[in-house]
Amino acid sequence: MSADLALTDAEQSMLSGDDGPAIALAMRMVTGVARATRAPRLLEITGAHIDSVVYYGQAGLDFGERMVELGGRVRVPTTLNIGLIDLLHPELSQFDAATTDAARRQMQAYVTLGGRPTFTCAPYQLAFQRPGLGEQVAWAESNAIVFCNSVLGARTNRYGDFIDISAAITGRVPDAGLHRTENRRARVVFDVSALSAALLASDVLYPVLGLIVGSETGEDIPVIVGLSPRTHEDRLKAIGAAAASSGAVALFHAVGSTPEAPTLEAALQGGAPDRTVVVSADRLRSARDSLGTAGAGAALQAVCVGTPHASRDELRRILAALDGARVRTPLYVNTARDILSELDPTGEAAALRAAGVVIVTDTCTYVTPLIREIRGLVMTSSAKWAYYGPGNVGVDVAFGGLEECVASAIAGEVVRDDGIWR
């Protein structure tokens, strides 16, 4: 072990196996990363969100089941990300029996380790997983990481497979990267103040803006100026998910909307920006077109929304946009089982299903092959779905706003207002 990393007596005991073999294994993982990042010490965390739940081969399943065999148990409140299958609606996913069994076992292993069976990529939409400003946590899943850092102001690095559960079992992370104030300073300014009021008022702007922010900043930290104060959380979610798909963005600031950016000066921590990018309507239009060129009138095979998982507000917007109509093209919406259970007693879930909406929980339509195999053109309101969907499930994509997606599902073809991008 590097002499640079100082462990407390308690942490040394964890590493040496005094607290059991699962904690020792988890501590070897955490200290291995701490050494690589030259962290001087470990930090205690107050919560974790685990992405290791999704089955991508035997090694992931083996790690979860090894931790269970060794008697592992999370030490902090922990939520679980999506799995490969929808446990509540197993008839939706189409895998062979062996894959289904492995996917189920992997999800179960993390529940046995003490994870709460939320199976959502948007844990921040659940009241019990909202860490506060400055809180140290260990989150995995790129959109959740960027939301946690940016919108909640809690602090996490980009954790992922194996290390997320290791942090939850030890309750520790390396004191490095975004856990430290000085590393949260914005470097690149994105100025959107030249955009039209109509575009700024439209939900469809935000995922496209996120794509540009991600591809222009790479691993740097961006700050956006010119958005309305207190921009809606669903819009900030869309920016972050897109920026974490097209780039490696783990934190962005939005002046007047995110907690570490009451002012531009605060987001820059008093420094000067490395550069400023003025976002034009032209640039947005070409980013939007990069998500798929199918325009108004193109015939649709399916509509997929809810990537990241739909919020209560988004589900209610879908219901309002349906306005009693029934969809002609299948409309799939991913959400968390905990959010679905809130819309069951109100009758809203039943109303969505009566209109022909297929509600998917515990997984995402961009990783799970649906029983009604989709080929051809799929419309989505998610830049993340549009970015990964073609590679993962082999389809073409049309991109539009949530209300446009619903109108398109009703019409059976792409319905889109292109005038707004001028």
Binding site: Y56, A140, D161
Partner: protein, 157 residues
């Protein structure tokens, strides 16, 4: 094993211990998740310049990985299947690959050493192309040798 810097082609920071020998595969950034077939190690990212080449048994010489943190589980899975690289040499600290390599040792006892080189040393190594290399990482330091020089310093192996 006697690791020594005297006859090394390159010397750098050992991120993950172990020894691996194979033909170098210098490539641009690649995401194992969605970019490598975990069954046979073939590069399946259609946008990658070495699409179709396998990483199995090679010393991967790559500035850094790309994209999703699920690359860690795919690296571990290729190693489990005997379809992974035998060593990875990078130019910047890649925590995702490190975590995958650590998990592979914990689960299967197979080590895929990871060596981090300074910018210039990395570029010089990458420029040597697809030649046989031995990577040895122990403690804080790691070395890249040609197979012949390793045989001389470690005849007992």
């Amino acid at each position: 094993m006697t690791a020594s810097g005297a006859e090394a082609i390159a010397t750098g920071r050992a991120l993950h211990p172990g020894r691996g020998a194979g033909v170098a595969l210098p490539i641009g950034p690649l995401s194992f998740w969605g970019g490598v077939d975990w069954k046979d190690g073939r590069i399946i990212d259609g946008h990658h310049e070495r699409h179709g080449t396998t990483v199995a048994g090679r010393v991967l010489v790559m500035p850094h990985g790309r994209g999703s943190s699920s690359a860690a589980v795919v690296l571990a899975e290729t190693v489990r299947n005997g379809a992974g690289p035998v060593a990875v040499v990078t130019r910047s600290t890649d925590l995702i690959l490190l975590v995958g390599a650590m998990a592979a040792v914990e689960l299967y006892g197979i080590s895929c050493p990871i060596l981090e080189l300074e910018h210039d040393a990395f570029e010089r190594l990458a420029a040597l192309g697809e030649i046989p290399l031995v990577v040895e990482c122990e403690g804080e330091v790691g070395y890249v040798h040609s197979p012949a020089s390793t045989a001389i310093v470690a005849p007992e192996m």
